[in-house]
Symmetry: C2
Subunit: 342 residues, 2 copies
């Protein structure tokens, strides 16, 4: 039997444990896995593109466990009441090849992306960062805000989205939790006084949601919406003024903001900062960019944490995914012999 954490199980686990507690555990888990980066299989995800969206498979393995995530990205989905991004994932035992854990990952992706962003910002943002601008206030935004507060102590948010209702939603969700939220009239207004700028928009195009002039020295940019070929968010000139950090360079060359720059544009893989092999921020004036596209190891971390936390609890149910004939070579025995010739 495979343990299944469905949407209800996931929401109960996260709500009853406390979202900020889960986010803190997630930051620690993702960081620990980034620090053992080279133990993992690392390959760009496998994407199936259509004119209106993408479906991706993101596998990796650390030699003991294998994990993969299925995730889609369909920017027009909200117009028909559907989510832009949905996901699910599986963990399996490398020794047997058997799946052991199956989980919803729409919520879990929100958590792992927020945890990864906050972990990167902890290493790259100024220690005295107080104000975060959020450009794009969709599904991911509240998770981002909570992860940044628990990791960096940021409580002041200046937000901008082309959809006013989405901004109001964020404000309604976060003000009761103690955030100081300013709903702005433009991206330029939102970026006034920013120490950290998070861009998280969904359009599958080369957009410029953040112009060069909006970025003052010392800012850390958490760029998470540019994550597909032909989908970017930043004015390319920002990249030229900044030090750029990435997850897995070969994937980010294909999918990240650095699509806008030549193949030899200098980048630093984030895991090398976390192990101390490479420098993070080197001055208070430096502009740092985490050109995040989402990598399979982050999903592996999230699945591993969720499995460890919910295994054997009432949050999960058993699914009969794997046939288990008494004689493993007698798969045929599972069929009723009398009916084979029906």
């Amino acid at each position: 039997m495979v343990a299944f954490l469905d949407v209800t199980g996931m929401t109960r686990w996260v709500s009853e444990t406390g979202l900020e507690h889960v986010l803190a555990d997630m930051v620690a888990r993702v960081r620990a896995d980034f620090r053992r980066w080279t133990e993992f299989e690392r390959a760009p995800r496998v994407a199936s593109h259509s004119s209106i969206g993408v479906i991706e498979l993101m596998p990796t393995s650390d030699g003991q466990s294998y994990g993969f995530k299925y995730v889609n990205g369909h920017p027009a989905n909200p117009n028909r009441g559907l989510q832009t991004v949905t996901a699910f994932g599986v963990l399996a035992d490398v020794a047997t090849g058997y799946p052991v854990f199956f989980s919803e990952m729409t919520l879990l992706t929100g958590l792992r992306t927020a945890a990864t962003s906050a972990m990167a910002a902890k290493a790259l943002a100024r220690r005295d960062a107080k104000v975060m601008t959020m450009i794009g206030t969709g599904s991911q935004s509240e998770f981002q805000a909570l992860a940044f507060r628990s990791t960096l102590g940021i409580e002041t948010l200046r937000v901008w989205d082309t959809d006013p209702a989405a901004m109001d939603k964020l404000a309604a969700n976060l003000r009761p939790l103690g955030f100081d939220v300013t709903v702005c009239a433009s991206a330029a207004e939102a970026t006034e006084g920013a120490d950290v700028i998070t861009t998280c928009t969904a359009d599958k195009s080369n957009a410029t949601v953040l112009a060069d002039a909006m970025v003052r020295p010392g800012v850390h940019i958490n760029a998470i919406g540019g994550d597909c070929p032909g989908k970017t968010e930043l004015d390319g000139a920002i990249l030229d003024r900044a030090r750029v950090f990435v997850e897995h360079e070969p994937q980010t060359r294909i999918e990240g903001e650095i699509q806008q720059r030549p193949a030899d544009f200098p980048v630093t893989e984030l895991w090398t900062v976390l192990t101390g092999a490479a420098a993070g921020r080197t001055s208070a004036e430096e502009i740092t960019v985490f050109d995040s596209v989402g990598f399979a190891i982050e999903d592996f971390s999230a699945l591993s944490l969720a499995y460890a936390a919910t295994r054997g609890t009432r949050y999960v149910q058993d699914l009969e995914i794997v046939a288990e004939p008494a004689d493993p070579k007698n798969l045929f025995s599972l069929l009723s012999p009398a009916r084979v010739m029906a």
Copy 2:
């Protein structure tokens, strides 16, 4: 909600519909999809190899539906009571990216592999073929035999396996269904008088389960066990005497029997035979080899058939895989606000 066909649901559907009926439908479905081959995305599967096995993801899409299979191959599993191959798969809607069908595929893989083999043999074996040799009598073997009987009328089997219990199992399963089964003492004995030879062994090595001398003119070889880098079954000399047919040439170059031959060794993609663009068997003396490794389109066909047949029936259950917030941009609303700060 996603429709889920678990192991019990699959066995009930197949048993109650009749295995041979399902196999006949599967042959037709796989054939129809092979005949529209160029409508599908075609890429080699994504494999994660360890010292004792492999885990693979096999995605494809026809532009309307997207499907993928998770499948492992662990030859030592039966020694610990586990199956060599287990699998599950998913169908999704390309327009929304949402998954719609989730299915066990351990049994379904047995059906789709048998259907593909029989479909290929129908195009490539001699019309008067009466005797099939089966080298390897593991989990797949009974499905192969039934598909060949329903498609080519073959009822006479000569079998060989290094595990005598596995041969006895096949005989016990198939004799009550009307097959004439001869359990042999060697591969050489099993191949005497063969018109079709099916090789389906599990060892992840370059083995020679079928020697050149065992293959007389006019034989069709259904080679399905050699399906990984470093995993082959045939004496390479057989390939030189034969015309070799493959599923997706780039994948078979990596995984198939033709690993043993140079990159320009001539092969014919099977779909071109089925559309009439290429010749199949051209004489009664020709040796034909279907160098089958298993391709994602076959799994797509199998999932599509199972989904169409079981959707809305008691064979499937609903799984809550996809979060469905009332406001698609308010994923956060699924969490209990009172608990976020716990």
